[in-house]
């Protein structure tokens, strides 16, 4: 079995704030395989964006501490010198952000911004880089790429801007594309086009994708695997079909139940997950989800309240597919011998 492209093990990210230490990411582990798409789902503040920004060293180093390990194709990213990370960024790992209007520089033409990325990593000449930029714009489906390359981002529509952003991210043919809520700021119709485009490019280029989103519909459409995050921890991981069909963590079930469906009766009220996400300054003891969990076992000594559940896979239930959940109720004795994913070697 070939090692995964990216192996994240027990990643911990803490921010020093005036109110105390925020555990933004608290022991997350996952793998990203070459050419596959991992969806990371969670509410705002669940740590899904922070995980990815810190992988590339795009956090504020003065206030952040990172522990754990993240190995990209043999290179350790955690604690790597800025120079190493800088060379990886844009070349082997690139990012697409939520709002392409603010994420693209308003001061340079779209073409110039793509050219800049390409020349930084390949040392190509101006003319060659320009041709490459036009080629990429054409590839992401921007009509008249030659002319559009000379325009500024504010002259593009939202969907076209995100296409340009994707062209820029893929110009150096990276191994991994991190798309942080790439469709959230777009119209619904345009969302589907952008997702199709990502899937199509992935097929052509073999790029692995981490897709950060809070939209389970997006995950269902394009992801191969899904990681559900809650309060800075992974609560469920597995192949997307399995997780969405047979969710094993009560939080995932709650998220799925909260999505309205066209087949629902019109007068069916929305079913949100009750309560609100916990403060990461002072997260609940034991399972961070227990105050909102309908299934939590009550009592001061109950494990839900006192013991941190580990992400374990119940092999009998999942058939060895890697479907795992961090829930005491799932890991109850009798189901199967739990395997600790955190023990896996990169």
């Amino acid at each position: 079995m070939t090692p995964p492209l990216l192996a994240v093990r027990d990643l911990r990210v803490r921010f020093a704030t005036e109110g105390g230490v925020v555990k933004a990411v608290d022991g997350v582990s996952f793998d990203v395989e070459r050419g596959r798409t991992l969806g990371i789902v969670g509410e705002s503040g669940s740590g899904k964006s922070v995980t990815n920004l810190t992988l590339l060293g795009l956090h504020n180093p003065a206030r952040t501490t990172i522990e754990g390990s993240a190995v990209l194709d043999g290179t350790e990213l955690v604690g790597a010198p800025e120079r190493t990370l800088r060379d990886l960024r844009g070349q082997r790992v690139s990012m697409v952000f939520q709002d392409p209007l603010t994420a693209l520089s308003p001061y340079f033409t779209v073409g110039a911004q793509i050219v800049e990325t390409y020349r930084r990593h390949t040392g190509a000449g101006r003319r060659e880089a320009k041709a490459r930029a036009v080629e990429m714009l054409d590839r992401v489906g921007i009509p008249q790429p030659e002319r559009r390359a000379r325009e500024y981002p504010h002259q593009f529509s939202g969907g076209m801007r995100q296409r340009a952003m994707i062209a820029m991210a893929l110009v150096c043919d990276p191994d991994l594309l991190i798309a942080d809520e790439p469709t959230t700021a777009l119209d619904v119709t345009v969302q589907a086009q952008i997702l199709d485009l990502l899937a199509e490019l992935q097929e052509q280029l073999g790029t692995a994708i981490i897709l950060v989103t809070h939209d389970l519909g997006v995950v269902a459409d394009v992801a191969d695997d899904v990681l559900v995050m809650y309060a800075g921890r992974a609560v469920e991981f597995g192949p997307v079909a399995e997780v969405l069909d047979t969710p094993r963590h009560p939080y995932t079930r709650g998220l799925l139940a909260s999505v309205p469906r066209l087949s629902d009766a019109l007068d069916r009220p929305l079913q949100p997950v009750p309560g609100s996400p916990p403060s990461l300054l002072d997260p609940p003891s034991g399972c961070a989800f227990h105050p909102r969990c309908a299934h939590a076992v009550d009592g001061p000594e109950a494990p839900c309240r006192t013991v941190l559940p580990l992400l374990t896979r119940a092999q009998a239930a999942s058939g060895g597919s890697g479907h795992a959940a961090a829930c005491h109720l799932e890991a109850a004795p009798g189901t199967a011998a739990p395997t600790d994913l955190q023990g896996a070697t990169p």
Binding site: M95, F97, Y107, T117
Partner: protein, 324 residues
Amino acid sequence: MFRFLVQRLLGAALILFVVFTVTFFLFFAMPDDPARLSCGKTCTPETLALIRRDLGLDASVPMQYWHYIVGVFAGRDFGSSHCSAPCLGYSFVNHEPVLDTLLDRFPATLSLALGASVIFLGGGIMIGMLAALRRGTWLDKSTMAFSLIGASVTIQFLGVIARYVLVDELRWLPKPEYLPFTDDPGGWTGGLLLPWLTLACVQAAVYARLTRASMIDALGEDHVRTVRAKGLTSRQVYFKHAWRGAITPVVTVYGIELGVLLGGAVVTETTFNIPGIGKLAVNAVANSDLPMITGVVLIAATAMVLANVAVDAVYAVIDPRVRV
């Protein structure tokens, strides 16, 4: 770009017309009678009437307004003296057309404003950028503490102390004075050095703090994060990308500042005895020289409006979103 400039200049002309009209009518709201002031101590009713006629003060207010406007475009006569177009009135105190005096004084003000600008913009922006990039370090803290002191002292205080120490005691700098650049470039520079430094010291502090704050904002912007995510070096991130966003507020503030400075740096000119527009304005007010006051107001307004047109043009160069 051409259309943009033409539009702005037309707008500027309109604003100046409004300012002129308002100033002209304020002129009549003032309690002093210009003819009386011009007449002197031994004033017979006959002389007064004569002066009144010579200065055109015997006509009705709308007619005087009309004469003034005609004078601006075609020139006019005040008694035996001629004021050629563009005529901004005739000073009763100096016995000279207002415009001649203004043109005579303007080079001193311009020299002071531009020279000081070079020093305080260059110094202030550089200090602010450094402080932003070294945010939280001793360099940041000490430069910001100094700039707080700089922003708090006044020119008349700093100027007098600096003059005493640097000119009178240590003799490092020449005596502050104004010599026309065309006559003596060396003397021009030397004489203005202390006024420049004093004015710049107070201003640079403001720009350092402003630049630091806006650079820190700019470094937090999404597109700057994108540039970092592209793998660019810190130098490229700061000096190719982030500064573009950071410089806009600085340009805005400087546009206003330049307008103010060109209308006369009253305190600096008075402190160092530089014969500029600011000193002229003070004297005109002291002498109730009403046409001169109108003239100074007009030139200050013109400077402000033109500085703003220039700022708009600079915006368009910095930010392509402004061009459409």
